[in-house]
C-alpha cells in the first residue's frame, strides 16, 4: 500500500487502473478531462493493458461503453455535466441492457447560463435511469468507490451500471493524501469480470437489446431493474464488508457524524458535506446537539438506514445542492417521502445551497441550525430557502446595472447616429 497526494480526478483514474479495466471510451469535458488523460498516458506507457478510444461525443461514448460491457469486458468511462446530459438517452438504454460498468461523473452545474463549478443537478438528472449512484466526499472515497462500484454493479443480484460521483473543482482538483491499495489486495476483493449471461461467446449467439410489444413484458423488465436496484442495498453491505476486510476502510451506505444523541441533523450529499462536519463540531462546542447524515448511496436509496439514523432527531435541515424548478430540493423530497408516516418523524427544513459551486459559510450552517431548531419546537417548517446573502444580491444588482447602462449606451448612440 502506498500513500500519495492525489486529486479527485487522479483518484478516479487510480480506481480504474486498479480495477484492471479492459476498455475506456472517452470524450473530454472540464472538469473531468484529467481522468481520461491520465488513463491515456498509462495505456500509452504500457502501464495499463487496456484499450482506449476517443469518440466524437458523450452520446457515442456511453453507447460504446454499454455495448462493450454487454460483450463481457470490464469498462470504465467518465464525464461531467453537459456530457452526462447529452448521453442521457443512452443512460436509460444501457441500464436496460443490464450491462454493468462504471461511469465517473464529475459534477458541474448545468447550462444555461454556462458555468464550470459544481452542483448536483447533472447527476440527479440521472436518478431514474437505472444507474446506481455512489456519491463521494473525499479523494480516498473516490478511489475506493470506483472499486466498490464495480463489485456492486457486477453483483449477480444487481447487474446494473453505476455512477461514481465527485464534485467538480472542490474534489476533482483538490489534492489529498490517498492510500492506494496493492493490486493483489484489489484483485482478491475485485476479481476479473464474470459476465455470466451478459457476453458474446463463440457458437452461442444471442440477440441483445430486443424490443417488446405491449405493457406486460415492458413492465416486467422495468420492474426487474427496480428490484435489482433494491437488492443492491443488501449487496452493498456485503461488498462494503469485504472491502473493509481487504483494506481496513469502511464505507457504509450512510456516512454519519455525531449522530448518537443528535437533536438536529443536516442531510447533504458530496464534498460540501465536509463543510457541515466542521459546522456540526462548532455547534456542538456551543452546546447544540447537531449531527450530519450523508447518504453515500443515492441509488439504491438507503431508506431503512435513513429512518434508523434519524430516529429520535427532532429537526432535519436538508441542504440540497440542486434545484428542481417549481418544487425545490430533490434530496428534501426524497427524504420527506422516506419519513412520511414514520411515528415521531423529525420536522424537515429545506435549504438550497451551493448552486454552481457557491460556498456555504459556517454562519449559514449556524443559521440553518437555528431555523431548524425553531421549526422542531413549533412543529412548523418554513418555506424552502435559497442560501443567498444581501451582499450577493447587491453584487448581482450591480452587474445588472452595468449591463443596463451598456445597453442604454449602445441603443442611445445608435439612435443618435441614425438621425438623418
Amino acid at each position: 500500500m502506498t500513500r500519495r497526494l492525489l486529486t479527485g480526478n487522479g483518484a478516479a483514474a487510480w480506481g480504474a487502473r486498479l480495477a484492471d479495466v479492459d476498455y475506456v471510451p472517452a470524450f473530454p469535458i472540464t472538469p473531468q478531462t484529467e481522468i481520461i488523460e491520465q488513463l491515456g498516458a498509462w495505456i500509452d506507457a504500457g502501464e495499463l493493458p487496456a484499450r482506449m478510444v476517443t469518440l466524437e461525443s458523450e452520446h457515442s461514448m456511453l453507447t460504446a461503453a454499454g455495448a462493450a460491457a454487454a460483450t463481457g469486458v470490464r469498462v470504465f468511462t467518465a464525464t461531467s455535466s453537459q456530457g452526462l446530459l447529452y448521453a442521457m438517452e443512452m443512460l436509460y438504454t444501457v441500464a436496460g441492457w443490464r450491462a454493468p460498468f462504471v461511469l465517473v461523473n464529475v459534477s458541474r452545474a448545468l447550462a444555461a447560463p454556462v458555468t464550470l463549478e459544481t452542483d448536483h443537478n447533472d447527476v440527479l438528472a440521472a436518478r431514474d435511469t437505472g444507474f446506481l449512484q455512489l456519491h463521494c466526499a473525499t479523494c480516498q472515497e473516490v478511489l475506493d468507490s470506483v472499486l466498490l462500484a464495480y463489485r456492486l454493479a457486477e453483483h449477480p443480484r444487481v447487474r446494473l451500471p453505476a455512477i461514481v460521483n465527485l464534485d467538480g473543482f472542490t474534489l476533482s482538483f483538490t489534492r489529498e493524501p490517498v492510500e492506494i491499495p496493492e493490486p493483489a489486495v484489489v484483485r482478491r476483493f475485485l476479481p476479473g469480470f464474470d459476465p455470466q449471461s451478459v457476453r458474446f461467446r463463440a457458437s452461442e449467439p444471442v440477440s441483445q437489446a430486443v424490443a417488446v410489444l405491449g405493457g406486460t413484458p415492458y413492465s416486467y423488465f422495468r420492474y426487474e431493474m427496480h428490484r435489482a436496484t433494491e437488492q443492491a442495498i443488501a449487496a452493498f453491505e456485503e461488498v462494503a464488508a469485504d472491502f473493509e476486510r481487504a483494506t481496513g476502510r469502511r464505507h457504509a451506505a450512510l456516512e454519519t457524524h455525531r449522530m448518537n444523541d443528535a437533536e438536529i441533523a443536516f442531510v447533504m450529499l458530496g464534498s460540501f458535506a465536509t463543510k457541515a462536519v466542521d459546522a456540526v463540531d462548532r455547534l456542538r462546542e456551543s452546546g447544540v446537539r447537531a449531527g450530519l447524515v450523508r447518504p453515500r448511496l443515492v441509488r439504491p436509496w438507503p431508506a431503512a438506514a435513513l429512518r434508523e439514523s434519524l430516529a429520535g432527531v427532532r429537526g432535519v435541515a436538508v441542504v440540497d445542492q440542486n434545484l428542481s424548478m417549481g418544487k425545490g430540493g430533490i434530496l428534501h423530497a426524497e427524504l420527506a417521502s422516506t419519513l412520511y408516516g414514520v411515528p415521531d418523524a423529525p420536522v424537515l427544513t429545506s435549504f438550497i445551497g451551493g448552486l454552481g459551486g457557491r460556498n456555504i459559510a459556517p454562519e449559514e450552517f449556524f443559521q440553518m441550525a437555528s431555523v431548524t431548531r425553531e421549526a422542531a419546537q413549533t412543529g412548523q417548517a418554513p418555506e424552502p430557502r435559497l442560501l443567498f446573502t444581501a451582499q450577493e444580491l447587491r453584487e448581482v444588482r450591480r452587474l445588472q446595472g452595468i449591463a443596463l447602462a451598456e445597453r442604454h449606451e449602445t441603443t442611445h448612440s445608435g439612435a443618435e447616429r441614425s438621425a438623418p
Partner: protein
C-alpha cells in the same frame, strides 16, 4: 443577406449610418497571445464595417470552445450556445427572423465532432447564413485533445504517441453533402484573403461554409507554423466569380484558376491536400434554400382582411 433581400425586408437600405470597428465591439478578447482567433475577429469586424452591417440586425451564434467565445466580443446580438449545437440554434433564429443576418462561429470539435450530425443537415437545408469553422486542429478550450481534424501522428493529451487516424477533411465533407451551396477555405495568417472570403461568403445567399485555418500557438502550433511562414506552400484559387486579391499575387506565387461552379473539380481540389488551397471551391446560388422555399409570404393588413373575408365567405349560407 444581399442588397436585394434587404430591400425585400425593407431593412438597412434606408439606414445611412456608417460604423467604425469599435462600434462592433471594443472589449479585449481573452484568447491567448498569438491566437488566430484575434485575426478572425478583426477581419469579421472589418467585413461588417465595409458591408455596413447594422449591429442590431446581426446575430452571432456559437457553440462551446475557445472560438465560440466570439459573440462575447461583438456588440451585435449574440447566442453562446452549448457544445455542438450552434447550427440548430442559428437555424431557429434565421427561420423565425429571416430579416437578420446570421453568422455561426464554430470549432473543429464543435462542428466536426460532437455537432457533426447538424453540420450535414444544415448544409443540406441551405439556410441563408454564414458559417465560420475556426479549425485549429485541436480541442483548444479543454486543453489539447485530438479532434477530428488533428493531423495523423500529431501528439495530443488523449493520443500521446500521435493521433491514430487520418484527419477528417472538412472541405471534402461539406462538398459531399447534397445541396451544398458555398464552400471556401482561407487562413487567419492571410488577412486580405480572409477579409475577401468573408465578404464573398456573406454576399452569397445560402449556407456559406468557410473553413478558416486557425493557429493555436498554445496546443497545435506545429500544425500550421511552417505553412504560415511559407507562402509557397499555398495555392490561391482565383476566378472572376471567385476571390481575387491582387495585392497577394506578388507573395503567393502559386495561383490556380478555378471556376467555382465546377463541383467535380472542387471535390478533387479539396481532396488533394498537398497544397494549402485558399479560395472558393464551390458556389451555386441556384440551389434551393430552405428559408426561401418554405418562407411564409407577408401580407398587408388589407390583404389579410380580404383573405379572411374570402375564407368566411366559404361558409356563408
Amino acid at each position: 443577406m444581399s442588397e436585394q433581400l434587404r430591400s425585400f425586408f425593407g431593412c438597412g437600405l434606408d439606414d445611412d449610418r456608417t460604423f467604425d470597428l469599435n462600434d462592433y465591439g471594443d472589449s479585449i478578447p481573452r484568447w491567448c497571445v498569438g491566437c488566430g482567433d484575434h485575426g478572425v475577429l478583426s477581419a469579421v469586424k472589418r467585413m461588417m464595417r465595409d458591408q455596413r452591417l447594422l449591429p442590431e440586425r446581426t446575430v452571432f451564434v456559437s457553440g462551446i470552445g475557445c472560438s465560440s467565445r466570439f459573440p462575447h466580443y461583438l456588440d451585435t446580438y449574440g447566442f453562446h450556445g452549448i457544445h455542438g449545437r450552434a447550427l440548430p440554434i442559428a437555424t431557429g433564429v434565421k427561420l423565425s427572423r429571416p430579416d437578420l443576418d446570421v453568422f455561426v462561429v464554430t470549432g473543429d470539435g464543435d462542428c466536426c465532432s460532437i455537432g457533426a450530425g447538424h453540420w450535414l443537415h444544415a448544409t443540406r437545408y441551405n439556410i441563408d447564413m454564414t458559417v465560420l469553422l475556426l479549425d485549429n486542429a485541436i480541442y483548444g478550450l479543454t486543453k489539447n485533445q485530438t479532434s477530428p481534424t488533428t493531423p495523423e501522428g500529431f501528439e495530443t493529451n488523449t493520443q500521446p504517441h500521435g493521433t491514430y487516424l487520418p484527419a477528417l477533411n472538412p472541405l471534402s465533407t461539406a462538398l459531399g453533402v447534397t445541396n451544398a451551396s458555398f464552400v471556401a477555405q482561407t487562413a487567419d495568417w492571410v488577412p486580405a484573403h480572409l477579409l475577401a472570403t468573408l465578404k464573398a461568403a456573406y454576399e452569397h445567399v445560402g449556407f456559406s461554409f468557410v473553413r478558416i485555418l486557425q493557429r493555436c500557438p498554445k496546443f497545435s502550433a506545429p500544425v500550421f507554423s511552417e505553412q504560415a511562414r511559407t507562402p509557397d506552400l499555398h495555392e490561391l484559387l482565383f476566378h472572376s466569380d471567385g476571390i481575387t486579391v491582387p495585392s497577394l499575387d506578388k507573395i503567393y506565387k502559386h495561383r490556380l484558376e478555378h471556376d467555382p461552379s465546377d463541383l467535380d473539380r472542387a471535390r478533387s481540389l479539396a481532396e488533394d491536400t498537398e497544397r494549402t488551397r485558399l479560395g472558393i471551391f464551390f458556389k451555386d446560388a441556384t440551389r434551393p434554400c430552405y428559408n426561401a422555399i418554405r418562407h411564409l409570404p407577408t401580407y398587408t393588413a388589407a390583404q389579410n382582411i380580404e383573405r379572411l373575408n374570402r375564407e368566411l365567405d366559404r361558409y356563408a349560407v
